[in-house]
């Protein structure tokens, strides 16, 4: 029996089987580009409650992946949740919900951050962009929408009715149905530059700006989820299809979730639900670097106690990268040191760029050092797994 486990994996990762999909199609949400995807022969799959493109036409995942590494790809990430936080105490509020240093962040700069629960576990990972002391643009995961928004609401109420808001309250606005497109790859910048008078050389990695683009004025953030140079472009609902059509021309190729996953894994980036969850602290997740320097000792943020404990004495386990011999290890594969089970793989693929099996997973603290030789179990056989630093590929960000 050959179990067509792609469906099974799609089931697990994308939260619904094709069979289930057929009965639940009506309940799946659509981004503003749903019809656009179908017109471009997308193979749609359920992902995070949305019907999203896995791939387009007969372009295989490897070819699609490679195209982003060598040229450029366009991704619909409009399923992600875009929100604005505004108000006189917005900086302090978000510094309560995240361990990031937002007061020292320059306007129109973005950072990766984490939203933590009381136990220091990661509710979601997020990109926070500061526009001003009193205005932030926050992007969170579609699959965490209900949890995140409920949490934000609860915390906003708490904040706005407390002493903390005496200098002004904070409001959240969710940008429902707004488009979000990611243009990624070494040829992304030259492609985008041809469409705008804005000097993109000045828009370095981690910064953003409102960019005039063929008559539109769009929020463009330099960065992404592939390890390549690129842009994430936020678009009002009525303009999304038109902007997508402008951005998809040669040499840009439409790119689906399949390649998005292998690209982000090569770049060592986490996928919430696979590599991050509410029982994992940012220190365990190897994300201590998102905690602001000035906040490590004294920062008062939700979950600070556990985070500080993990920073002081080591956390029980740590997320690391692996290169694995023979068969690729996938999510759920057990990690061994001799006979002892010491951890679990959370994401793994045969890397299209490196032609090696790469993976990330959690191991007992102490076994996390680069070069540590461990084993993973794939189909009841042990395979050599060497702890490797991440990212697996050299990122190609534009730092000016």
């Amino acid at each position: 029996m050959l179990l067509l486990r792609p469906t099974a994996i799609v089931q697990r990762t994308f939260k619904a089987s094709t069979r289930k999909f057929s009965t639940e199609t009506s309940q799946l949400r659509r981004t503003g580009l749903y019809d656009f995807h179908l017109e471009n022969k997308a193979k749609m799959v359920p992902f995070a409650g949305y019907s999203m493109p896995l791939s387009y036409g007969d372009v295989g995942q490897v070819a699609s992946h490679n195209h982003v590494r060598t040229d450029a790809g366009l991704f619909d990430v409009g399923h992600m949740v875009q929100s604005n936080f505004r108000g006189a105490t917005a900086t302090q509020f978000l510094e309560w919900l995240t361990p990031s240093s937002l007061s020292s962040l320059k306007p129109y700069s973005s950072i990766l951050s984490v939203i933590l629960n009381e136990k220091g576990g990661i509710i979601d990972d997020t990109i926070v962009t500061k526009h001003a002391e009193d205005a932030f643009y926050v992007v969170t995961n579609a699959g965490r929408k209900d949890r995140d928004l409920a949490w934000f609401q609860e915390k906003l109420e708490q904040w706005n009715t407390s002493e903390n808001a005496k200098d002004g309250s904070v409001e959240m606005e969710v940008l429902e149905n707004w488009g979000l497109l990611a243009l990624q790859g070494p040829r992304a910048a030259s492609y985008l530059q041809a469409l705008t008078s804005f000097d993109l050389q000045k828009l370095t990695f981690g910064t953003s700006a409102f960019v005039p683009l063929e008559g539109f004025n769009l929020h463009v953030a330099r960065g992404g989820y592939t390890g390549e140079d690129g842009f994430e472009i936020s678009i009002p609902p009525s303009e999304t299809v038109e902007v997508a059509k402008i951005l998809m021309k040669y040499p840009v190729q439409l790119t689906g979730l399949g390649a998005r996953d292998s690209l982000r894994l090569e770049a060592g980036m986490c996928l919430y639900g696979n590599d991050l969850d509410e029982d994992t602290s940012p220190v365990e997740a190897g994300l201590s670097w998102v905690i602001g320097k000035d906040r490590k000792e004294t920062g008062e943020f939700v979950g600070a106690e556990i985070v500080r404990e993990h920073l002081r004495s080591s956390p029980p386990r740590r997320r690391v990268g692996f290169v694995i011999d023979g068969a690729p290890a996938r999510q759920g594969a057990k990690i061994f040191s001799g006979d002892e089970s010491v951890g679990i793989i959370t994401s793994g693929i045969p890397s299209p760029t490196l032609n090696k099996n790469i993976a990330m997973g959690y191991v007992k603290n102490g076994l996390h050092k680069k070069g540590t030789e461990l084993e993973v179990e794939v189909r009841n056989r042990r395979r050599r797994a060497a702890v490797t630093s991440m990212p697996f590929i050299k990122p190609n960000y534009w730092r000016g």
């Binding site: 029996m1 050959l2 486990r5 469906t7 995942q61 068969a327 693929i349």
Partner: protein, 172 residues
């Protein structure tokens, strides 16, 4: 066997000769040639009709003269899997029972276990797949075959599906 082959060719010749009468000469030559090729293909497919399928997309092409079954994954399976980048095969000499896991096919997105569609002994594996796993996409049921199993119980084949039944199994 030779006689069958000769008979097949002979009948195709007579068929093409028939057609010569109704088509112009210029067209008839390549046409006749193609007919011969096609007929011999029909002859070859006498063996290929012994192909049996599992609901999970494995295929076994059984040759009753050798007792060997060539195991492969179906074209439908490879198209669902996407680019195959790694194939794990059993070791030659392994005794397998029907439904035993005998290997795996990996694409970037996922791993698919391969289970033995029949019981027997693994006589040969397709070593080419180690260097060219992409053969599974290009030619899943021919060049991309996985292994050959000497069937210990050919009656197991009767429980498997023919091509028509197999197609119906995933089209619904």
């Amino acid at each position: 066997m030779q006689s069958i082959l000769r008979r097949t060719l002979a009948s195709s010749n007579s068929l093409s000769r028939c057609r010569v009468n109704i088509t112009s000469r210029a067209v008839s030559r390549p046409f006749a040639f193609r007919t011969i090729v096609k007929s011999s293909y029909v002859f070859l497919t006498l063996h290929e009709t012994a192909k049996k399928y599992t609901v999970e997309h494995e295929c076994v092409a059984f040759d009753d003269s050798t007792g060997l079954g060539v195991i492969s994954i179906t074209d439908h399976a490879q198209s669902s899997l996407g680019d195959v980048v790694f194939v794990e095969l059993p070791q030659v000499g392994t005794e397998v029972a029907q439904h035993d896991q005998i290997g795996a096919v990996e694409s970037v997105k996922a791993a698919s276990d391969i289970y033995a569609p029949v019981s027997g002994m693994v006589e040969e594996i397709n070593d080419t797949l180690a260097d060219q796993p992409g053969l599974l996409n290009k030619s899943p049921e021919e060049k991309g075959w996985l292994c050959k199993i000497k069937l210990s119980d050919p009656s197991e084949l009767e429980k498997l599906m023919n091509e028509e039944e197999y197609k119906a199994s995933y089209e619904h």
